[in-house]
Symmetry: C2
Subunit: 211 residues, 2 copies
DNA sequence: GCTTAAGCGGACCCTCGGTCCGTATAGTCG
DNA sequence: CGACTATACGGACCGAGGGTCCGCTTAAGC
């Protein structure tokens, strides 16, 4: 499988498409309002190029999501303290959830677009399996913790994009309050030190709380 | 607002449509595969009738869902022991979640259809607010329990149709094992009596575990 | 420069949600 | 029982948008 590298213009166009899609999705409030034709036009390419490069709409969204998620993934698999593998399980589990929540907050529209990408539910996408595997692996290392497989699913469900969107949008919950609530909830699930002080947790794990 | 009652044939057709939709959705494995034209044909009416009676696709799904959910709702608001209002909070919260899970298992395709009904996310549908209000109200009555609003959202997220579908479908988790896992997880969130014996919980609350 | 195959792009197709309006009939009143 | 009307019916029709196709363009190797 030689896997010859693509032509230069193809690579350039691919970038342009991802960039255009990101911009458009971020600006419209319903991701479904962004059509493939829109993206093609904004990227200055033809529709054919979109579909050749990404297969279909779902493929494009996935590619975009993966690209934006890459840094976080990196930080988790080989990064420093809070997220990295060296952190003790309880703390790391909390850090993972917080990082994922922050990511969804920072890329609200993109995450929404991904989840409503029709076809196959969020579950079954590569990145979900990765998150679930990572998180349940961490939970497993908690002494005396059982049912880590389901628990990981349930905890991940608590940060699903549409729920996050609902809470911060419709219900006007601030970013910091939401992070604190999640930390509180997750802490309860993990057991151990019941509450780590007050429930403010304004800066539990900086992680990807930037941008 | 006199609210004059509809003509007899209209009522009959409405029933036929709901029935046809239910059957079709239950039999195809992707709910999206069922088109409005399909439903109209199966019900023996014209498309116009569908849209006049339900507004749009989302409206039809909602109406169907509400109709099927009605018994459960009844059991919760004025039913007997496990689900009814007389049950002490901790037990009732567990019963509510189990009943909802069973409902989603029994009406897998319908629940999926509802969640992917496009337009507005699950959140914002009347029935969700009802579940959330009910559950968080119950949690509130647990002595020393905090963050019941978010906790209710998170617990409900753990029984979302697509997750349930993923676990029982792709992952071949049996109904009873799933119920036990959920009970275990929820029990941990609620605190109190850590584990009520083993984690089997084969028949925590019969409730709507029938059909 | 010449060759060639990877890449391009937009006209085109098809499905599907949703609308419209001429026709049919349930319900009512004389 | 016949006339009248509001209500409902239903399928032809429309527009949007995802996805395809194929003749043209152009990067890249010689």
């Amino acid at each position: 499988m030689p896997e010859r590298k693509p032509r230069a213009d193809a690579a350039r166009n691919r970038e342009a498409v991802l960039e255009a899609a990101d911009r458009l999705i971020a600006n419209r409030d319903r991701p479904a309002q962004v059509t493939m034709a829109d993206i093609a036009a904004a990227a200055g390419v033809g529709k054919g190029t979109l579909f050749r490069g990404f297969g279909d709409r779902t493929g494009l969204i996935h590619a975009l999501f993966e690209a934006r998620l890459e840094p976080v993934r990196q930080a988790v698999t080989e990064g420093p303290h809070p997220l990295g593998p060296a952190t003790p399980p309880r703390e790391r589990a909390l850090a993972l959830l917080d990082a994922l929540l922050c990511f969804k907050l920072d890329h609200r529209h993109l995450s929404l677009a991904l989840e409503e990408a029709g076809s196959d539910s969020p579950y079954g996408a590569a990145h979900y399996d990765w998150w679930h595997g990572t998180l349940s692996g961490v939970l497993e290392r908690l002494p005396g913790f059982t049912g880590s497989d389901f628990a990981a699913h349930a905890l991940l469900a608590a940060v699903r994009a549409d729920l996050v969107d609902h809470l911060t949008g419709r219900r006007n919950l601030s970013r910091e309050r939401l992070r604190a609530q999640l930390a509180d909830f997750a802490g309860r699930v993990l057991g151990g030190p019941a509450s780590d002080g007050t429930a403010d947790g304004a800066e539990p794990t900086s992680g990807t709380g930037n941008r």
